[in-house]
C-alpha cells in the first residue's frame, strides 16, 4: 500500500424515493469532510440520491466467503422462523 495515498472510504447513497443507503463504490479522501464532497462529485452526478454516508474502509468488517456455509445455510430451512402462521384481525391492518 502506497504511503502517500489518502485513506479509502466506502460510499453509501440513499435515493430520493429510497429507504436505505446503498453501497455504490469507494474513493480516496484526506478526511470525512472531503470524503462527503468527493462522494457528491463522483457518485451523485446524475441525481443518484439525496443522502450520503461515508465510512472509512478500515471500519468495515466483512464476513469471510469461506464461512458462508456455516453463517447462512442453517437459516435456509427454518420455516418456523417466518411470521406467516398467524391470523391477523382486519382491524390491525397491514403488518
Amino acid at each position: 500500500m502506497s504511503k502517500n495515498e489518502w485513506p479509502l472510504w466506502e460510499i453509501f447513497i440513499r435515493s430520493k424515493s429510497g429507504l436505505a443507503h446503498k453501497h455504490v463504490g469507494s474513493l480516496h479522501a484526506a478526511d470525512a469532510k472531503m470524503a462527503i464532497a468527493n462522494a457528491r462529485d463522483v457518485y451523485t452526478r446524475r441525481m443518484e440520491g439525496v443522502s450520503l454516508w461515508v465510512v472509512p474502509s478500515v471500519s468495515i468488517t466483512a464476513s469471510s466467503p469461506d464461512e458462508k456455509e456455516i453463517l447462512f445455510d442453517p437459516s435456509n430451512d427454518k420455516v418456523y422462523r417466518h411470521p406467516t402462521f398467524y391470523d391477523i384481525p382486519d382491524e390491525i391492518g397491514h403488518m
Partner: protein, 247 residues
Amino acid sequence: MASDHLLHLADNALILGQRLAEWCGHGPVLEEDIALTNTALDYIGQATFLYKYAAESEGQGRDEDQLAFLRDAWDYKNSLIVELPNGDYAQTVTRQFLFSAWYYLYLRNLENSSDEFLRGFAEKSIKEVRYHLQHSSDWVKRLGDGTEESHRRMNDAIRELWPFTGEMFTSAEFEKAASEAGVAPQPELLLAEWRQIVETVFTEATLKMPEDGFMHLGGKVGKHTEYLGYILSDLQFLQRAYPNSKW
C-alpha cells in the same frame, strides 16, 4: 447588439468553464479531476442559459452558439480574472474561491432582479455557486494551512491574482445602467462583504490579506489579456474552420 450586461455574465461563465475544463485528465487526484470538470459543466450550463436569453433579447436571429463561438476577443465582456491561466492547483483554487465569493454575493442580489429571467437564473445558479464556494474555501484552508510548500504556493497564487480582484467590484457603464434599472446589483456595494468572506477563510488558512495595490481593468469593455486569444482559438477553431458543422 446583445446586452453587454448579459454578455458579461455569460462570458464569465463560458471562459471560466473553458479554463476549468483544461484540468480534465490532469487533476492532481481522480476525485478533484471530477470535481473541477463538474464545476466546468455547471458554468457551461449557465453560459448556455444566458447566451440563449441574450440572443433572444437582441432579436437579430443569432443563437447562443453564434454568440459563444463567433465573436472576437474584443467583443468579450468577461472579467479578466477568469481568463488567467490555471497555474498550479493553488492558483486554480484561489481563483475559484475569489471569484465564487463575488459571484455568490452577486447572485444573492440578483434573486431580487426586476428581470424575471435573471431572477430564475439566480435562484437556480446560486445553489451551484454555493457549492463551488464551499469546495474552493475548503481547499484554500487545506493548502494554506498545509505544508510549507503548499503555503508558499498559496501565497504566490494570492499575489498573482489579487490585482485582478478589483475589476469584479468596479462598475462598467452597462453595470451602472443595469443597477439603476434594478436589473442587477452595483458591484461596488458587494466589496465589503466579499472582503469579510475572504478574510475569514484566509485567517483560518493562516494566509495574510494582501494590501490593495494597482488593479487591472478592461475585461468588461473588451480590453483583454493576451491569454484570451489562445482560449478562443481552442474554443472557436472548429466552428470557424468548418462553419455550421454539427454532430
